[in-house]
């Protein structure tokens, strides 16, 4: 939805990730970009160039925070010191919403630095929703949870991934960052129809959409964020916006990063789908 409680009632358009190889171009050329997404963890230090660059970006652009280490799916207690660091950054960026993943990734204080898939059980949904609510209460900003791509499924799962996502977001009363590339990757790896996923989530909770590229191997697909978006993913995107309406859209390109213009042009391809959907919508 264009503006909803989960994106802070904002109407952001098409954005790209703020990445180090593009810093010089952005700061010197000041290209027109609707918004940037930052990885929170890259800016949670106490000083140095990252924060200086961020402050310069904030003078000219809108920024939304996206995290990779809150591990909403972990059964462990939320780390207060970690939350304090995130909150300091939230105040600095004035991000209208904050996203992180429906996953786990640390145990007993040791971090895998990965987004590990969850067992889709009611018990896990309950614990995850509780963590999201606690995080939101502390951070005082709307929270959206992103579906991850995965390469493994568990015997103990009691439902589909999208049913699990629904269970979590309803219990937590939070938003969804719908990653259509992750849906595609997981659908290939786990043999489900990706449109069942896109059609099966509550459109009113979608605050943001991610698009990205991936890498295809002989027996699986890996979510590498290092290629352009392929047509099947664009089709999923189109279906998503048919359901949600114009929604803040972000292209992730995190590895083998090409020039700023190449990345931005790739992101702006979303416009053709947005226009098409809006035209269809006007005609009905």
């Amino acid at each position: 939805m264009p503006a909803n409680p989960f994106n802070g009632f904002t109407d952001y358009g098409i954005g790209i990730g703020l990445r180090v190889p593009h810093y010089e171009h952005i700061l010197s050329q000041r290209p027109a970009v609707d918004w940037f997404e930052i990885i929170s963890e890259n800016f949670m230090g106490d000083g140095g160039r990252p924060l200086k660059v961020l402050d310069q970006i904030l003078e000219q652009y809108r920024v939304v925070q996206h995290g990779v280490s809150m591990y909403f799916g972990s059964p462990e207690k939320l780390n207060r010191e970690h939350l304090k660091k995130i909150k300091r950054l939230v105040k600095r960026t004035r991000t209208p919403w904050l996203s992180d993943h429906l996953c786990w990734g640390s145990v007993d204080g040791r971090y895998t630095h990965d987004l590990l898939p969850m067992p889709y059980t009611f018990a896990a949904a309950k614990v995850t929703a509780q963590r999201i609510r606690e995080a939101r209460d502390f951070l005082e900003v709307p929270i959206c949870v992103e579906n991850v791509s995965s390469y493994a499924e568990f015997h103990v799962s009691e439902m589909t991934e999208w049913e699990f996502l629904n269970e979590v977001v309803e219990r937590a009363d939070c938003g969804i960052l719908l990653d259509v590339n992750n849906i595609y990757v997981s659908s290939r790896n786990h043999h489900f129809n990706p449109f069942d996923y896109v059609n099966g989530i509550p459109a009113s909770r979608v605050a943001q959409i991610h698009i990205a590229g991936h890498s295809k191997f002989q027996k699986y697909i890996l979510d590498t964020h290092d290629h352009p978006v392929i047509d099947p993913v664009w089709k999923l995107y189109e279906r998503a916006i048919q359901r949600t309406g114009r929604t803040a859209t972000l292209l992730e390109w995190d590895d083998r990063i090409p020039s700023f213009n190449e990345v931005h042009d790739e992101a702006l391809k979303a416009n053709q789908f947005l226009k098409r959907v809006e035209k269809e919508s006007a005609q009905t």
Partner: protein
């Protein structure tokens, strides 16, 4: 699953076939992961195991180019795997991956022998570089603030400043090496293989000589500043919490060029211009 993901890889960078208790890892994987028509449970778990190791190795590789250069790729990779197994990441950021490396190298010199002293110098310098990159820079004191400073005050030094006493002239070596290094890729969730490594050329003629460095950040750049012995002694004392008076007293007996009072005054003026002092307490 976490234990399986973080377990060191075996031969050919594949998941180890035997579990900790001797059972086949295949059995462990099958107990909680579903197979599909293309991949066994073992193969699905292996994707995560390999990604974990490729990711942290890649980060470690990028953070320690100097150490890698003097040890050589093979020895460095063996050291990296041993260190990262013993000290897995305990931070939300990979930036802190090397925080216990110096302690590890000191405790287990066999991983760097016969270049242990050189390896320690480089590990300390490369960690100091990381700290200088994004540690806090507090509002600095100017010379004006220092001019009237009482002898009993304790000056505070910037969090991004590290003082090093080294046995080898590794600063020039590392600067030359870093000229050829590229930017680290942004955090990507997926690593499909060990990233192709640039072969590192070891620069001959690394001089063995006691020297003193201040590694710090100035106007967003990281600098390695050579210090005179007296400067190192004075700054180390201040960093350790000595009063101005006591820190200066440590210079007794050391050779200081020109008029000592004037020279030390110039040192403080220069250091405050670099923004090294960020407060004091009585």
């Amino acid at each position: 699953m976490a234990r399986a993901v973080m377990r060191p890889l075996g031969r050919g960078d594949r998941m180890q076939k035997k579990w900790l208790d001797g059972r086949p890892t295949r059995e462990i994987a099958e107990s909680f992961i579903k197979p599909n028509d293309r991949l066994t449970s073992f193969a699905r778990l292996e994707i995560y195991n390999r990604q974990y190791w490729f990711r942290i190795r890649d980060c470690f590789y990028e953070d320690y180019p100097g150490l890698r250069a003097i040890l050589g790729d093979q020895k460095f990779e063996r050291l990296a795997d041993e260190y990262l197994s013993k000290y897995p990441s305990q931070s939300y950021t990979l930036r802190n991956l090397g925080s216990r490396l110096v302690q590890f190298l000191r405790a287990a010199p066999r991983w760097t022998a016969p270049k242990t002293r050189l390896a320690l110098d480089l590990a300390r310098l490369e960690w100091a570089h990381i700290e200088a990159f994004d540690n806090e820079a507090r509002p600095s004191l100017s010379t004006r603030h220092l001019a009237g400073a009482a002898a009993k005050i304790r000056l505070k030094l910037q969090p991004h400043l590290t003082l090093l006493k080294l046995e080898n002239e590794v600063d020039d070596f590392l600067i030359e090496l870093k000229k050829n290094s590229g930017l680290r890729n942004e955090a990507s969730n997926a690593m499909e293989q060990n990233q192709r490594r640039k072969k590192t050329r070891v620069t001959r003629g690394l001089k063995r000589k006691i020297n003193f460095l201040a590694v710090h950040r100035y106007e967003d750049g990281i600098y390695y500043k050579r210090l005179e012995p007296g400067q190192f002694v004075l700054l180390s004392a201040l960093q350790a919490g000595a009063t101005l008076e006591r820190a200066c007293a440590r210079l007794a007996g050391l050779k200081i060029s020109g008029d000592p009072g004037e020279t030390v005054g110039q040192w403080f003026a220069h250091w405050s211009a670099l923004g090294w002092f960020c407060g004091w307490e009585q």
